[in-house]
């Protein structure tokens, strides 16, 4: 079925029912029609294309078609040395770029067995968790936007802007950070950074109460979310769904706790889960995760020691031994894995990025079957995919 779509002209014409290249309809009675949602659609998250077969407004079949934002990051990795791949990492998922950037550094450090100074580890935790909060805040706004509520979007972007400014002062970028280095971070943080972060956390706590009053208890919001887009435990595990989407199905799996990396084993935090597995459950889990991230940041700020931020002898060019290494972190969307194959040269033989959005998106055809067109966008929004991360 899918192969037909790749014939010439199919991408342009598949939306019309008279199109000979279109996939055969699931319902042969002719009661259904196709709707081509995306890649250009005002609320598609990125350039995802959904080929929907509809009966009235009910979805009979859904086929996600990806690849419109493919930038060949994995191929680029094979043509440059380890250091030169650093700026690519934050561009894979530009909404949690810091987590990806640090994750790549940590993967290389694991491969080379480099010790990271204590202060650098604490800084990494603070900036990564700030990044997670900013990613969730953006999700909060766009999810409400998908449901037709415009005002919460601007509120949450106001808060997110504070994080971007705080990180901008330290890293020099607002979105696509290149802050990590093998063995540490580029710039040390000052007292002002820590104070600003503490002030921001206090501010966000107050704002969260406002969000709950405006959104969480809203009747329309609840009726749009409760029981909609159920990704149950079995489906989620089968498709390799991770992150808040998996935790909303009641599986308390978080890489930070399951396979602690960095210094995450030293912090106290809960893994929020919910049992509904629907839009509302995913909403609850993400909102609760923001609170947990704030807890982690507070502990890290309290414990941050003085000292160097890089090892004494910084690595620039190096040739790792022949071998394969896998390293996984918890990004804002789920498990982000980096698989590095080294052939002994200073250029990686292969880097494979296991991005959570790809697996999370894969269950869409199953989940969307039988739902309404109006829910498509809501469900997609609740899963929080980032298309460039799917395509890489």
């Amino acid at each position: 079925m899918t192969s037909d779509l790749h014939k010439p002209g199919a991408a342009l014409a598949a939306g019309t029912s008279a199109d000979p290249w279109a996939t055969p309809p699931a319902d042969p009675d002719g009661e259904t029609y196709y709707l081509n949602m995306g890649p250009q659609h005002p609320s598609m998250h990125g350039v995802l294309r959904l080929l929907l077969e509809l009966r009235g407004e009910e979805i009979v079949k859904c086929e996600p078609i990806i690849g419109y934002a493919h930038r060949a990051h994995e191929k680029m990795a094979e043509n440059r040395n380890y250091m030169m791949f650093l700026p690519n990492t934050s561009r894979v998922d530009y909404l949690s770029g810091m987590i990806y950037n640090i994750a790549y550094c940590q993967a290389v450090e694991k491969m080379l067995a480099i010790e990271v100074p204590e202060r650098a580890e604490h800084i990494r935790v603070i900036v990564c968790e700030l990044n997670r909060v900013s990613s969730h805040l953006l999700w909060f706004g766009t999810f409400l936007l998908d449901l037709g509520g415009i005002t919460p979007f601007l509120y949450s972007f106001d808060d997110r802007e504070q994080i971007l400014s705080i990180l901008d002062r330290v890293t020099g970028s607002r979105l696509t950070y290149c802050y990590g280095r093998f063995g540490g971070v580029t710039e040390d943080v000052d007292k002002k950074f820590l104070d600003e972060t503490t002030a921001f956390l206090a501010r966000l706590r107050g704002r969260m109460a406002e969000y709950h009053a405006l959104v969480t208890d809203n009747v329309i919001f609840r009726s749009r979310c409760e029981g909609v887009g159920v990704i149950d435990r079995e489906t989620a595990i089968e498709y390799g769904v991770t992150g808040p989407t998996l935790r909303a199905a009641g599986v308390p799996y978080d890489v930070r706790r399951a396979e602690p990396y960095g210094i995450y084993d030293r912090f106290e935090f809960d893994i929020p889960t919910a049992s509904g597995a629907d839009n509302l459950a995913r909403y609850y889990v993400r909102v609760a995760e923001m609170e947990q991230s704030m807890r982690i940041i507070e502990q890290a700020i309290a414990k941050i020691p003085d000292g160097p931020i890089m090892p004494e002898k910084a690595l620039k060019r190096f040739k790792p031994d022949v071998g394969e290494h896998y390293f996984a972190v918890e990004s804002a969307r789920g498990q982000f894995g980096i698989y590095i194959v080294s052939d002994g040269s200073d250029v990686p033989f292969r880097i494979k990025l296991r991005t959570p959005s790809f697996s999370n998106l894969a269950c869409m055809p199953d989940v969307l079957r039988g739902t309404m067109v109006a829910d498509t966008i809501a469900i997609l929004g609740s899963i929080d995919i980032v298309l460039p991360e799917v395509d890489r």
């Binding site: 939306g15 029609y33 709707l35 659609h41 005002p42 609320s43 407004e57 409400l144 936007l145 998908d146 449901l147 037709g148 509520g149 415009i150 005002t151 601007l154 509120y155 106001d158 405006l214 809203n218 329309i220 919001f221 009726s223 749009r224 309404m372 067109v373 109006a374 829910d375 498509t376 966008i377």
Partner: protein, 326 residues
Amino acid sequence: MLKTLSDLVPNVFLAMLLAAAAIMAFATVNALFLVWLERKVSARMQRRYGPTVVGPFGMFQTLVDVVKLLSKQLISPKDIDKPLYHLAPIVVFVPVVLGLSLFPIDKSFALVDTNVGLVLVFAFAGMGFIAIFMAGWGSNNKYALLGAMRAVAQNIAYEIPLILAALAVTMIARSMRIADIVEAQGSFPYILVQPIGALIYYISAVAETNRAPFDIPEAESELVAGFHTEYSGMRFALFFLAEYTNMVIVSMVATSLFLGGYKGPLLPGPVWFFGKVYFLIFVMLWLRWTFPRLRFDQLMTFAWKVLIPLALANLLVTATVLKVMS
């Protein structure tokens, strides 16, 4: 004594010309003002400033936007149903403008005064959906078609409670002449007599104007722009103009039926009338910028299972009470 334009101007053609000019001027200026108001109100609710550059408080921003819309190319998509597609923006606009003429804005003045004013208002309002369906059908676009189908279903569903609520009022006032209904509300408005009816009317009215949280036919995040997806430039502007004028009309009906129209202490009648109308419009803006959108089936369920039974019960109770009291 209520005077109409034909009483004041002896020549009938001159009167018609004047009425048309007055209505068009009001509709246009009102839409310009409302779009500006909507931008300002939404901006303030979202901690922004809204338009500030063109004119005092950015008031002329919408005027400049109209110039932009007028100068834009009119694009017609391939394989459209030409008569339907081209007629729709006019058909949507004309009845809405006609509806404006029927309301007494003061004790002594209305543009047109007929003894079936209320029926005419709802009849004109009902014509708008034909235009929306024409636009959706003629555009050769699936989003537009879906939006049009939703619009028709929604408007049929919400017109019933709307009219049932209005019917209860006409039963009390014993007239369908809008001026009579206003006059019948002696010292207290009908919202005190008919609180449930007023609420049903207002909810249905917001749905009738396709405004959020009932903006299902043009649900931006699902249907791109719904029935007017394929309209650009001034054709789009006409749909826009009709939507904003429609808001005024349903608010004028609400003002006349439930809030005592032009009545009020101290200030002159037109001030009270337009003050009440724009207050109701402000509430509509408030709703739009606060709530997320309902889903289509939830919207229909709400109309058929909640509003219509409630409106019927309201009508029945009103009739019984009237009978017993007489």
